[in-house]
Symmetry: D2
Subunit: 385 residues, 4 copies
């Protein structure tokens, strides 16, 4: 593998591919990594499309077979951006080949897959990370710092939602994210995974049991001709939606806290409404992604007359990740979280540290999602009024 | 009973007594009721205290025995403001005596009590209402109007919380609200009842089953010397907290919607954080009590480029209840909701209409709370991760 | 005059009369005044209307001649709610008769009138107060406390607006508030007076000079048939608008701060948008009336990483005026500010203290308004681009 | 000059240089420009520093003499990022050499300089643009669209502020931005220029005259050892602050609207608080940079019962500039505005269109700033209270 440079090979190139490319292109220009990061190869099944993507996004070469990417000596990092159904195969092969692997979330479509991936990661010489990018929002990274410093004390409540509204229209087509074989689950894995991880990240605690509900509001949708990003050509025929449109669950944490979680694509008016609130005995924290540069902090040790939620603009140079960017109040956006993620991953490789969130952390998230699914299927979870 | 006037007798005189007195004093001065409302008698067990309260709040007389109040011919309306444990006895006696009865929420401490109260109300000649005052917030009354007009279409989600933080301190004493025998339950009945009713009111739908969690974070607290309103003198001895500090549940509605509900007294930084959001296929609504003059409305039928949540100041003269008050933007407060409640109750009496929410509506709420308690006790409700 | 009771006579009974009546009815029931307050007489020119108002609002009697009210021995307090053009005559007569006088704002229509009123107040045995009710918003009273405690340090900036939108429609009729002879000025005196006083109140500093603009956007409007509150019957004929629709000015304060002020009835979407921000070297404060239970406080002495504007719910029992009302988070509204105002005025009478804001304070406001008008008329105030 | 590629030479490399580099690196990867953009040379006086900057930011070469950059045949675009004192000399030389020139704001330090620059731009064959990047915030670009579509009707009010707080500490050193010779003015040119341009951009109207105030709150500051970005090493000696700390002015627009403007570095708690509100007869718009993905729109033609400010997330694919980026609700940040700016400039070059804002637009801004300074110096602008 490369000496003072790290070669990156990215598998997959749709929405996630675009933002990953942006972050790989940016990370070494903004942060001091101690190594060059080279965008060596992008990989996709459609040769014409992937060649165009390479030119567009600035990759040095294109491949159509991910195995060929893994086989290349000049590739140190494999970045897995494909749908969940292929995560295990690609990631395990890459780990076994000694590569460092960063894998999009959710880690896998099933617990069994995730277990094999975590085992492979454990055994591998390369580093591995699951790409829960919201951990790299400066405000959430700062929230974690505050919890670690003991500023919240005993935690009572976690309240997390991830609300979107892009498939309310029954004529929205049956894209891959609505098909269980490819996506594993619907809102649960796509959105719920993020907030389960965010809760784990911010509080430092894990969920021990859940009561869950899954709901599919629209059962059938127009079949897709061809898919591009989140849009797709519709056909007249209809197919069955095999994933959840919405997932809700109550959770008990190992630190004694209770939590409510909700992930949905049917919250009209909510675009990327990821939000989390944590209530502790000494402080509370609140975060909403659409205002991602703000962390709301209530200090409960202050005299009640002066207390209240404070809007902290997490844009000071000593806030996490901000040192590479702009002056206070000059806000960051969604793509910056990926740049931060790659910064951390590369620095962990360079400094031989274990990246977080690990594949084991990703496995934990998968187990929570699985428990929600099992709970939702059980009749006993519901008590009649 | 009175001819062109209605005589009111109020049983109980602590926090709720103060705000009820304010509303009885105000209602006929602001709204045209077609009848005079006379504050004839206030009733409490401590003669000295209730006499002082009568003078303070403007009641014409004071009694120490609620039966004596019911026996009085000049009393048309019995307003029950006592803790839940005495609701049934007083309300049923009053109904049986032919009085109109407005009863504080929750209707009762148990389903059995509530059933007997609803039966008595059904059989009685007088009118009855359970005092879910949040129905009388203009913004929530307007929300109901929008749902009734079909502006939301099919409803997918209800998301309701009632967050307070006044008993986080372990030295906060064991007031009656923390004792099951008096209060029936804790956050569940005190706060959860409000949001269960608000969901029923706004959506026009009822919950069919739930999965619930109850949690008591602080098990023991200093015993109380003497209680006044929400404050109390502490003693050195400690007693057991026998109610929930927090209640959380998932709910399925009879219209196919799913809901999350959370009521707690341990959300540090949240003072009276009652909030509800409803997501429909054509619109969404959002309300937070601490900004009670605002209703946030997202119209999903608008072009996405122009769409978003709109902050409607519910202070226009054609908004519910506002005609009696001030010009646009001249905001109302908590006590106005009681004035509106009594306005509706008196007008229903005068015009011989069935008040809402009825004791049957209150019984429904009680059944939901009971299902949450039963669910929380069942082990089967939880699925291990 | 009355012994252990104070008799109130109110002159005027439209919008301000309704809210004043509500406050007189409420003040002694909520606050301990040490004296009874009796609503003895309401006065208006139209006998039928004033008699109806007396019955509606709970006044013991009605008069059509304000001189008769002042002549009554059982009247201790004269509450002047008429348009500005009659303030001087009524208030000075009442003061000369030994009454206590509370007078609606602005104190007068001209500086000369205000000077005579302030002189009369100075010479009188009775107490006097000008009714800038926003001083009695708990959040603004708390803001004043913070400034007095030195929490802001040196003050650099005041930024105040009062934005409404009720006369944008050119067909809105020529009500008395748009006629110079009755109202004195337009947005300047009606709205601008409030923010000039609020700046004086919160900062404890006064304006020494200004640069101003006045603007009348709609020159002619339909003449009025009959006026009621803010509504009016229109006639086909049109008359000239003789007051400003909007008033803007820059101000220099005697403490070295600079300020911007804007009052308008043409800010579409703004209903009662009174807002003030003060930036000091150690802290900043921000207030918006439509969210009147909140004060936003930035503490600049805190580490930048944790700093930001904090939303203080000014509803704690130790916040100004709140002790008489409800628990934390149970918000107050517009009318409560009048109840607080009368509480302070009555307590000042009972305890022989000088009420604030005094007629001298009102005269200062009048002088600022006058300077704005003089500035707006001067060509020299404008520099061409 | 290059055929299917455009070579860029950037003069200056501090804060603005970093963000410009990021944008030049990104623009062709996100937007279809029809041409390659090559980062050919970065120029600064310190050879070691500029060589490091070239490597860090990804420029192909470094120069220490800007004349050498202009002399290079492979450079098509000169990007001027230096302090205002050198804008004229560099930009005019580049224009005379046939280069396209994009120049940081404010265009110049004096009207005379700006006039010569605008004349040179007028005479030149190359394109020119002044870099008011806030025009490229999608929300403000969308605001301009709404005004152009006639959605606001007649405009009454503009209300613009740009509030920062980074020099409140008297020990903050005398950096170049506080020295008239280098910066031209203080908050006025640095911040005020942005809001003058934003008002021009959004409303399509220009200011005809002003009344202004300038204020320097801290007269002397520690002299600087060496400056880097916004930070600097202090020395024990002190020097005179020769620019304004705060600038405020009233403005009359050629469309009859009135405006208030305020720019300051002394608004404690405000980090990058650029905000503008426009009130029209049919709609109002409100924007705050720290929430730059939101535009608040009030539609005054809607029934008052349903009206209010609507929070439009300007992240839909058909909003300005968003098509190149992420799905709805996946917010953009400060640096994206520069990428948008360069996209527009390159597309204007490729398509032979006149870029906006032109140097003439920049000259207009300079004239407004100059009028504010002249007004502030005149005694006649102030009317005593």
């Amino acid at each position: 593998m490369g000496g003072s440079s790290l070669g990156v090979g990215m598998i997959g190139y749709s929405f996630m591919g675009a933002v990953h490319s942006h972050a790989w292109r940016t990370v070494g220009r903004v942060f001091d990594l101690g190594v060059d990061v080279d965008m060596r190869v992008i990989c996709g099944r459609n040769e014409e499309a992937v060649t165009a993507a390479a030119a567009k996004y600035g990759w040095q070469s294109a491949e159509t077979d991910w195995r060929a990417v893994i086989a290349r000596d000049d590739i140190d990092i494999i970045d897995v951006c494909t749908p969940g159904s292929s995560h295990e195969e690609i990631a395990v092969a890459a780990l076994n080949a000694g590569k460092h692997v960063i894998c999009e979330k959710p880690l896998a479509n099933t617990v069994a897959e995730a277990e094999r991936m975590a085992a492979a990661a454990q055994a591998a010489s390369g580093k591995s990370m699951v790409a829960f990018n919201y951990r790299r929002v400066p405000a959430l990274a700062y929230a974690r710092e505050l919890v670690r410093q003991g500023r919240l004390g005993r935690i009572f409540h976690v309240r997390a939602v991830y609300l979107q509204d892009w498939i309310i229209d029954p004529e929205f087509p049956l894209v891959w994210r609505l098909v269980k074989e490819e996506a594993g689950s619907g809102a649960l894995g796509d959105l719920g995974a993020h907030i389960v991880d965010a809760a784990q990240f911010v509080t430092g605690s894990q969920i021990t049991n859940v009561s869950g509900e899954l709901r599919t509001f629209i059962d059938e949708r127009p079949l897709v001709g061809e898919t591009h990003l989140l849009e797709a050509t519709k056909s007249a025929e209809r197919g069955k939606v095999t994933v959840d449109d919405a997932a809700l669950f109550l959770a008990n944490f190992d630190n004694g806290a209770v939590g409510t979680f909700e992930a949905t694509r049917f919250a009209s008016g909510r675009k990327n409404g990821m939000a989390i609130e944590v209530n502790g005995e000494k402080a509370s924290l609140r975060f909403e992604f659409e205002s991602m540069n703000e962390l709301w902090v209530h200090d409960h040790t202050v005299d009640g007359k002066d207390a209240g939620f404070r809007r902290v603009m997490v844009t000071e140079s000593d806030h996490p990740y901000v040192e590479g960017w702009w002056p206070p109040g000059h806000v960051l956006g969604y793509d910056h979280t990926f740049t931060h993620e790659f910064r951390d991953f590369v620095l962990d490789i360079v400094n031989d540290r274990a990246p977080e969130p690990s594949f084991a952390d990703g496995l934990y998230v998968q187990r929570v999602l699985d428990a929600v699914e099992r709970s939702a299927q059980a009749q006993s979870v519901r008590t009649n009024v």
